[in-house]
């Protein structure tokens, strides 16, 4: 018995050591590491991101033929920083990737990105929307439009079209992104002279919003401003209508709302919901139309903003790799990234700002007839 168990242990340990030793032979090509949350709380978003990314990698490689190929390594950070750290270390030191795309959650990024910065590996965030990410260092880039850019535009358009005078605020206070949404909304609302009737919060994973919504209903606001991710958003929207809050009281959300999954889950209740976002699914730009069609054909559902930003991220990265001779030198790759200007992507024409953030205007959408349409320009 002892012999069996001891040898079993030896086998396990050697497997472990072997996996470290087996650093893959450096294959020619542009090596990209993708860190998405495939399990845990953010799995819903990670799944979209992986689909978007794998689609574009497939397409680019097919088109490139004997040219520069992308070698994609997908890893799961389980929505926790601990795993994110492990994965970043593995990708940087073990697989020796040229750059990393991700991680899904801003909270994780705050811990993992400094690792990449220190090691001189470029990181392109495709879903982090809080402040303090690109400030980590000059190797950190982002193509996901922050709430700081999206929301002022949203409020301006909504106020103009709807004549808002007083609104209620409802947001998730245990997630960096929804909290950022709330903070920016509050600032903008106050400077626009719109009165806030109350501020209510909820936590991630909550399903019952009737207490908060009942209070809000009694306050008779012109609109409900919501900082939530798609999961909670669909619940909030359905329950608001179920409680009898009329459709004339619009529900307005930020980046988190920009998901066809929301329309599917909230059903009819989603009519009239206003979404400030970075990506317009119904844009007629040819690249976007092709993306939406290809994605829908391959995965049997329409893409959401997470998929779109991941897709664009790879487009941007590949462009930089081509411009820097294959991307194998991380420093020249970083410089090439910084120089990206007016690149045609599914997000529209894309450039980086001085601070390596996404430089394009946000859009304001409305859900009409079960689809996202542009509310104003």
């Amino acid at each position: 018995m002892k012999l069996v168990s001891r040898s079993l242990l030896a086998v396990v340990i050697s497997l472990f050591l072997l996996s470290a030793a087996a650093t893959p032979a450096s294959s020619a090509g542009f090596k990209m590491g993708f860190v998405f949350s495939m399990t845990g709380g953010a799995a819903v978003y990670g799944a979209s991101q992986k689909e978007g990314a794998s689609l574009v990698v497939e397409q680019i490689n097919a088109a490139a033929g004997s040219g520069l190929q992308i070698v994609a390594i997908f890893e799961d950070d389980a929505s926790v920083p601990q795993q994110g750290t492990n994965v970043f270390n593995k990708l940087i030191n073990g697989d020796k990737v040229d750059m990393i795309i991700g991680p899904t959650l801003s909270n994780t990024a705050k811990i993992t990105d400094p690792i990449a910065q220190k090691a001189g590996v470029p990181v392109l965030a495709v879903s982090n929307t809080i402040s303090g990410i690109t400030e980590i260092g000059d190797y950190i880039f982002r193509d996901s439009l922050t709430e700081n850019v999206v929301i002022p535009h949203t409020v301006k358009i909504a106020k103009g079209k709807l004549g808002l005078k007083k609104v209620a605020l409802l947001y998730g206070n245990d997630d960096a992104m929804t909290k950022a949404t709330y903070e920016v909304f509050k600032k903008v609302l106050q400077s626009s002279g719109i009165q806030i009737t109350s501020e209510q919060t909820f936590a991630k994973g909550d399903r019952d919003f009737s207490p908060q919504l009942t209070q809000i209903k009694a306050q008779n606001p012109d609109a409900i401003i919501c900082g939530a991710l798609a999961e909670e958003a669909s619940g909030i929207i359905s329950q608001a209508r179920q409680l009898g809050i009329p459709k004339t009281v619009r529900i307005i959300g930020g980046n988190g709302f920009n998901s066809p999954g929301l329309i599917k889950n909230a059903g009819d209740a989603a009519e009239g919901v206003i979404v400030g976002a970075a990506w317009n699914i119904s844009s007629t730009a040819p690249l976007n139309v092709k993306f939406v069609n290809d994605y829908t054909k391959k995965f049997n559902r329409a893409p959401d903003q997470f998929a779109a930003q991941a897709y664009a991220g790879v487009q941007i990265a590949y462009q930089a790799a081509k411009a820097s001779g294959g991307g194998s030198d991380r420093k020249t790759l970083r410089d090439a990234l910084a120089k990206i200007k007016n690149l045609d992507t599914v997000l529209g024409r894309f450039s980086f700002t001085e601070g390596r953030d996404a430089d394009h205007a946000g859009i304001v959408q409305e859900i009409k007839g079960g689809k996202f349409v542009v509310l104003g320009n």
Binding site: G41, N173, D174, G205, Q212, A218, S234, Q242, G244
Partner: protein, 296 residues
Amino acid sequence: MNLLLQQLINGLFIGSVYGLFAVGYTLVFGVLDMLNLAHAAIFTLGGLIALWLVENAGFSIWLAFPLTTVVAGVLGLLLNQVAFAPLRKRSDSQFSGLISSIAMAIIFEAAALGLFGARSVRFPVGTVAVHAWQIGGITITSLQVGIVCVAALLMVILTLFIGRTRTGKAIRAVGESERTATVLGINVNGIIAFTFFVSSALGGAAGILFGLYFNNLTPDMGRSIELKGLAVIILGGMGSIPGAILGGLAFGLSEVLTVAISGTSNLRDAVAFGVLFAILLIRPSGLLGRGKTREA
């Protein structure tokens, strides 16, 4: 006034779902003196399986509901066979049973994740026809009423069953003392298996109702209710079915009112667990419970 009334209705509604869920927990505890932490995972699987039947097999919810409830019960039998029965002869069976239920919970959740994916899903629109009634300034939906009725019905049936039928009496006997029950000729193992069946069936039913109302089913949806369920049965008294029902309602009400008053849902849980903590210190047997709760 309307506001308060509406909140009370909200609370009663969610409370009845909690009660249904907690009843399953307390049933197993009453009989086996053991916490089945896989109950929440069966809750989740109940909701997801019913969804699958409605969406992919085209069943109507009226058929899917009882069918899934039975399937959940069978899962409970499986749970008992694999994780609890082998451990019953051990001296530390309470503890090891707890651990193996945790292990099974992880396995069930992994199965849910593997079979249904991480995305949140909902019952197709039109699964249940929903009418909203506006009485005064208060809104009640037919779905809410339906869910409360089904939950109440199940709980009444269970209480009558335990109180009046022979099997019910046998269950209570085994709960009192396994040895005496054996002497009396009761098939203890069979009764225990049956208890698991009923408990898990109820848990699965609660999952379906929960899924129908909130329309947000994920593989980890059991987690949010798991801790609450435990708190409910402690509040109501471990092993007492009326206690679980009362506890569920009380819990639902306190949750809703806390959120309504404070405007945030964070305090809600803090209040709930604070109360739970206080109860454990002052009167661990809960509102209606019995059973040895202290050592010294």
